[in-house]
Symmetry: C2
Subunit: 386 residues, 2 copies
Amino acid sequence: MEKVRLGIIGLGAQGGAYAGFIAEGRVPNMAIGAICDIDPEKKALAQEKYPDVPFYDNYIDMLESGDVDAVVTCVPHYLHPEMGIESLKRDVHALVEKPAGVYTKQVKELNEFAATKPELTFGIMFNQRTNKLYQKVKEVIDNGEIGNIRRTNWIITTWWRPQGYYDQSAWRATWEGEGGGVLVNQAPHQLDLLQWIAGMPKKVYSNVKYGYQRDIAVEDEVTALLDYGNGATGTFITCTHDIMGTDRFEIHGDKGKIVVDDSETVTIKRLKTPESEMSATMDMQDVMRIFMGAGPGEIYDEEVLKFESVWGEQHTSVMENFAANILEGTPLLAPGSDGINGVALANAIHLSSWLGKEVELPVDEDEYFAALTKKIEEEKKSPIQK
Amino acid sequence: MEKVRLGIIGLGAQGGAYAGFIAEGRVPNMAIGAICDIDPEKKALAQEKYPDVPFYDNYIDMLESGDVDAVVTCVPHYLHPEMGIESLKRDVHALVEKPAGVYTKQVKELNEFAATKPELTFGIMFNQRTNKLYQKVKEVIDNGEIGNIRRTNWIITTWWRPQGYYDQSAWRATWEGEGGGVLVNQAPHQLDLLQWIAGMPKKVYSNVKYGYQRDIAVEDEVTALLDYGNGATGTFITCTHDIMGTDRFEIHGDKGKIVVDDSETVTIKRLKTPESEMSATMDMQDVMRIFMGAGPGEIYDEEVLKFESVWGEQHTSVMENFAANILEGTPLLAPGSDGINGVALANAIHLSSWLGKEVELPVDEDEYFAALTKKIEEEKKSPIQK
């Protein structure tokens, strides 16, 4: 087997883009094995664009056809775990779209099933993990270059969506259709990067606004306060109503600081002496001398790095890495089992706001599922007029 | 009366600086009327530096001497309200140092007494209010140039203090001596500016670390989540253990955004059309066109302003304005009665962390006072070994 034959489930915006990347040869170790969609219009589209590629209107049929070695699940979030399980069950490798699911209860089932099939490749489309910028940030942290983390603050409000976006389909931004708003649809990348880079918090308190600036049932504004359990704290702020959105991620460690601006520029300051040692040995006169005289350059080195990104490159990198894992055992950048962390964070942020108190992670999966089910029932009784 | 004769209570770092400013003629409408300190060494210092200025070791004697028209209270925080009241009682104008006090119960007494003496001038040393940068920010907000506020986020961690700072005196950073840490000693300026510019939040939740990176009883790390009660939210983050501290204040409104970096640079973005209107009229194609093509300049104008500050200028401006109010009725930049807001915020942040839940503002002043008293008692039983 030279190329992995990928079955694309769902020929919407994402699925269509992935098919295009493969067709254009941007994923050298992949071929389009088959395409599946329940929409007859998509069938016509697929047959026009990819006349030689088999088409299925039922993904189980595709899984059992022998046409595909692997699938990618470009379908509504709720379906990712189920489709992942059905694929792996039939010895078809699975690349699930983000988020891994809507609630941890279902994602756990996926992970547990995947664990019984260690010979198969199970990945998740965390394309931001292939971003050289965030790889660098993770490397600096993992190497201990800024020491132990004391604080993480991420304002990521560049997810502007107009009301028209939400009005495109009835299922959008509903509890039943998506299971959440910005936390489930737009911010999963940052929730994953945050935990990938800085680890999972132990406790979360949140203030979440549902339908604050948009006529939707789910959240369009999130402020979460994180506690890492070792003294370190954090904030995570996101929304879909800031058309001049901010993307600023600050990580404060006991030996340095990293600031990422606009996912483009990384400023790394490395202290020459750990902060705790400076605290123990310096008096206020030294402080005055540094801040008013010698200048802070005396105490740290600063490195500024700029990164450029090419649209689509991140997705093709995940696809290529996923296929390379199947073909050659190359380590996965984004193992599917990692997907649960971002979902656990999103669930904790929702639950804290519903309970009005700080919650411990992981939150009780049955409690969250029950609360979500209640939201869905309430929504059915009085749907939002979009 | 051409000049206000100021009585300086406490010849420490602040009191000494104020005496110097007046002696150097930097406050043209003020003269040093008298100096008071309980420390004999300070008496020697005063007599050496200001041989013609009367010295008192009891501030009540100074108030009753006829030597002073007004006083400034450069003494531990707990004493500000009491000294303010005693001065006003004797028809001596009062300029209290920040914070106005440690707990709102005492500050309220001061405000209530001051209200019975409307003919006297009652000011507070919120020198940052004379900072042209923050005046500009307030003006832009007050003029509605960025519309209604949706979010405020301030990371102000430039208050680095080494352990040696805390070890200078036994009363420092204790509940009995100061009644708090960074919230009471360093950050009152920003707490005041925040409420001056953006209004008081209605609810506060906080995660506060006491003695996190320093051997102290009080807080050296604060993360507070603010809820303004109208949908708007905020975060306020401060600490004393970040030697490469951040000072970044972002205000997001429905017609624009203000970002203040390092209390030096203000970036103001004004939308050409209010965000809610853009949301109502734009579809995702328009969004793609703007963000990937025409550029965001199509939707907003950006103004970047730089401000320089001269050390001491802010303090002399408050002093001059205070004296001008006495002499000519010039409106006060920082009326003393405003001091309670920052104290109320600090109290709410403390109380939320002690109760582990969100609190409504203003917090119950008796509940806060009882909780603070308990901290003082606990501290007496097991003092921190500094």
